[in-house]
Every structure is written in structure tokens, then in C-alpha cells.
């Protein structure tokens, strides 16, 4: 079931001298099956928007439906909502608190009020899913793990709630290249068990590689929703909004500027290499 957002407005500290408008008439539809990217600069309203999705921030004006649930009324079923929308914040490893990994991952399921059997089954499943060995890690302290492992445990803590919609805020921040790759692979795997994945990221390589639709935020407004190729091929628009291109698109675009025949909407390394090789062969620049 989808997410429907209509004319959502939000202001911090309303009616005080510190009042600051964060969202202006945001209207968005996120559909089942979407791997939805949210991009924009720090302070563009991305985080305010996603914290609406599980009612950490409450609707001030406009409407917001998540899986058919209206989030406007003051009283809503928070447990139901928050087990439907799994939220992974930036540096989620900083929320670990329990004595053992197992206990930490069980925190969410326990709060939902599941039975002990159900909890232990979900915990085992979640820990295995994030690529950790359940037997060897379950009784270790989460604080003794490496940074990458801690992040997976934190992710497992959300997965164990079996969310239908998974929201990720900069899931790869601070990781080394291998750690980044592993987390992205993991997220793609989790995607198969959820209806919707929403990801905030500053890394355009990741966004273009993972998402099928991308919402561009700018100063509290949605500038538009695009497919990756459609968005990154628009050099002028990106420059205007001060958004980087994915690396491969950038190279393609620089080549195209010089009259080299490559498509500006290239978003993968394989495509780029093939396109360059093809054109070089046409131009007779190859050794073969």
C-alpha cells in the first residue's frame, strides 16, 4: 500500500520569533514497488518530510496517508504505524543500547508486543538477513563490534519489526568503500521483502544505481520527481539546483560536450565503457 502526501506544510516553532518554515505544499505519491530516492541539500526539508512518515513529526496542515492510514488526527495507532514504517536514521549504530546483540534487535518486536517465540524467530531471521552469523554474534555486546557490524545490527533491529515501508537516511555515511557496497547490496536484498524503500542520500552514484524514482527537494519544496536517467541527463537543471551528477554521467556529459557521441543519460559504469568503446571503434581509435 502506498504513501500519499498532499499539500503538506510544516513550520518549526510556529508562532514564535524562531519560527522556521520547513515544508511548502509538498505533494508526493510513492507507490508500491518503488525504490524512492530523496535528494537535496542539507536543510532542504528531506528529513522533516521523512519524519512525518512515522509520525515523529506530526501533520500541521495538509494530508498524509501511509498504507491507507490517515496521519492527520491527533490520536493514531503509533505501534501499528511504526511497525509498518521502519526508520533507519543516520549513523543508526548510535542507538544501540542493550547488553547483547540479540536483546537489542529484539527491542522493537518486544515493544510491538509480539509473543516470545515470534520475537526470537524474527530476531534470528533479521540477524541472518543482514549477513551476520546468528550463533556467534547473538550474545556479544553490540559495543564490541566493528563499525560496519554495528550498523548491520542496528538495521537488523528495524528489519525484525518486518516493516512494509523502509526509510533510510544516508545509510552508507561514514563507511569505507567495501562497507558501503555491502550495505547497498543488503538494502537491495531487503527491498525484496518490503513494498517500498525510501532512501535519502547525498551520494548520486548510489541514488542512480538503486532508485527507480527520485524526488528533488529544494528549500522545502519538491522540485520534481524524476526517473534517474531523466534527471541526471539534465545538465542545466542540475547546475541550477546545485546537484552533482553521478560520476559516470558526469564523464559521459563531459565527453558529449566535446562532440563525442555518447548518451548523456548513462548511469552505469558498464554502459559508459561500452559506449566509449563503441564510439572509439567507429572513430578508429582502438588498437584492435
Amino acid at each position: 500500500m502506498p504513501v500519499r502526501i498532499e499539500n503538506l506544510n510544516f513550520e518549526y516553532n510556529p508562532k514564535t520569533p524562531f519560527a522556521k518554515r520547513a515544508l511548502f505544499d509538498v505533494t508526493l505519491d510513492i507507490n508500491d514497488g518503488d525504490f524512492f530516492g530523496v535528494i537535496g541539500h542539507t536543510g532542504s526539508g528531506k528529513s522533516t518530510l521523512i519524519s512525518h512518515l512515522n509520525a515523529l513529526t506530526r501533520v500541521q496542515s495538509g494530508t498524509l496517508f501511509v498504507n491507507g492510514m490517515d496521519l492527520s488526527p491527533k490520536k493514531i495507532d503509533f505501534k501499528k504505524l511504526r511497525s509498518t514504517v521502519g526508520m533507519v536514521f543516520q549513523y543508526p549504530e548510535y542507538q544501540l543500547f542493550a547488553e547483547t546483540v540479540e536483546e537489542d534487535v529484539a527491542f522493537g518486536p518486544k515493544n510491538i508486543g509480539l509473543s516470545a517465540d515470534e520475537i526470537s524467530q524474527r530476531v534470528r531471521e533479521a540477524i541472518t538477513m543482514v549477513g551476520l552469523d546468528y550463533q556467534s554474534i547473538r550474545s556479544r555486546s553490540p559495543f564490541d563490534l566493528s563499525g560496519g557490524q554495528m550498523r548491520r545490527v542496528a538495521l537488523a533491529g528495524i528489519i525484525a519489526m518486518r516493516p512494509d515501508i523502509l526509510v533510510l537516511d544516508e545509510p552508507t555515511a561514514g563507511l569505507d568503500p567495501r562497507g558501503k557496497q555491502e550495505i547497498l547490496t543488503l538494502i537491495k536484498k531487503i527491498k525484496q521483502t518490503c513494498s517500498i524503500v525510501i532512501m535519502i542520500s547525498h551520494n548520486m552514484d548510489e541514488v542512480s544505481a538503486c532508485c527507480n524514482r527520485i524526488a528533488v527537494f529544494s528549500e522545502g519544496k519538491v522540485h520534481g520527481v524524476y526517473e534517474p536517467r531523466e534527471l541526471f541527463a539534465q545538465k542545466e537543471l542540475l547546475e541550477k539546483l546545485n546537484i552533482d551528477m553521478p560520476g559516470v554521467t558526469n564523464i559521459a556529459s563531459m565527453l558529449a560536450d566535446r562532440g563525442f557521441n555518447v548518451d548523456r543519460s548513462i548511469i552505469s559504469e558498464d554502459e559508459l565503457v561500452d559506449a566509449i568503446v563503441g564510439e572509439c571503434q567507429r572513430r578508429g581509435l582502438c588498437a584492435k
Binding site: 541539500h41 542539507t42 564490541d144 566493528s146 563499525g147 560496519g148 555515511a173 561514514g174 563507511l175 569505507d176 568503500p177 567495501r178 562497507g179 547525498h202 551520494n203 552533482d244 560520476g247 559516470v248 558526469n250 564523464i251 563531459m254 565527453l255 566535446r258 562532440g259 563525442f260 559504469e269 559508459l272 565503457v273 566509449i276 568503446v277 572509439c280 581509435l285 582502438c286 588498437a287 584492435k288
Partner: protein, 277 residues
Amino acid sequence: MSIIQLQDVYFTYNRASDSEVRAVNGVTLSINEGEFVAIVGHNGSGKSTLAKLMNGLITPDKGKVTVAGLDTANEKNLFDIRRNVGVVFQNPDNQMVATIIEDDVAFGPENIGMPSDQIRERVYESLKSVGMYDYREGTPHRLSGGQKQRVAIAGVLALRPRVMVLDESTSMLDPRGRADVMKVVNDLNKKEKMAVVMITHFMEEAVTADRIIVMNEGRIYMQGGKEIFKRQAELESIGLTVPLASRVANRLREKGVVIDEDVTTYEELVNKICPLE
């Protein structure tokens, strides 16, 4: 002339306990005056431990670290060593001391007992060179990550060290912040001739370095200029990548496209494929 020298250095965290971690395993290297050295490696490769060894925050279990000829193992030398080697750390929130930006930058010069008008001069100069002068009377709390790191760099600059070590200082920043910090660091190295040791896992940040040192399991795995990016498979086997442009160049070469020189940046790659007439 070398400023920092590590001679066959070993270091182990939590020595003689169950959680013993060997971090540095026999490293010999030197950092020369005015040089830009990048130290790359995956998390846990021992690269950050090197930063702490370089200004005496930790001392080697075996081997010797000297800065401008002074042994870091001798506590009496530490003050002079730290005037020579400034360190910018990873988390921008955990290295600010004061609630006002200019006060924070003044912290170092205050500690070395400089007269107050001279401190002010240095603080202003340092803030200007990182482009944060206009913010001097504000609080660090309001700044973005990249701005905070530039203030931290100014704090180090105010001590006028001969070497600046950046210990994963860009890893928590967004692309904009990272680019701003890199620009400041490159300028310092090129214009002020300050030696820079850039510890990072972003290969793109290593491409401008004079020398790249690749760490793995506490040892130097590989070192050299940007020609090392041709050894893509080896680098990938230890959890690193090569810069996108090098990667594409390597693949094009395999497919028979003639790209002879070492390519690390987009411009270089594009120039090779499609030279400007």
C-alpha cells in the same frame, strides 16, 4: 628534508588483555617538508593509529617515532612536537572547545602563551584562509559539518604547524563539505607549502597526493604515485576501490582503447579519449 619519521613502529591497543588489537605492525615511513601524502586503507587497517602516533597521542610499543628530530616517547618533547604536527580529527563536533568560533580557533595559540594581539592576528588570518572569517563571532553549533571542519582546520593552522594530519576528516561530510575541505587543504599545501598527511578511504581524495601509502593489516601494502591505481585488482582485494576515472581507463585499456598514461581525474580521462583540438 623529513619532518616526521617512523622507524619500524609497532602498536597494539589494549595490550595484554583479551581484546588485544594489533593496529600497526612494523611501519617505516617518513613525511617530508611540503609534501602531500595520502594514507589510504579500509576501516581497521591501522591508518588512524598512524595519525595518533605522529603527534605523540600514543607512543609505539616497539620502534621509534620522531618529529623534527624529537622522540615522541619523551614526554618533555610533546609540546614542541604538537606545535609542529597539527591534527584534524574525524568528528567535527568532538574537537571544538569554545562556544564562539574565534575563541575556538584561539585555543591553540593561547596554549602556547602567545600575546593576545598576536593571537587575534593569527586567528583572523587562519579563519580567512579557510573562508570562515565572516562567521567568527557565531557559535559552531549552527554550522554545517563542512564548515565545522574548516573551523577545526583553522584551529590547527593558528599554531602554524609544519605538518597537518587529517584523520578521516571528510568521512562524515556531505559531498559539498568534502569538496570545500579538500580545496582548503590543497591550497594550504600548494600555496603555503604546508606538508599534509591525508588519511582517508576515499580514493578520489588521494589522487592529488605526491605519494600514496596503502595500509592493510597494520602494514604498508603498497606505496607510490598515482601509477598504483593501475593495480586495481590488488586494491580491491583489500577492500579499496580505485578512482572512477582510473577504473574506467583500466577497463577501456582491457577492451583495446589506447590510453597510455595514468589517468585519475575525469578531466584527464576525457582529454585522453577526446583531446581538445
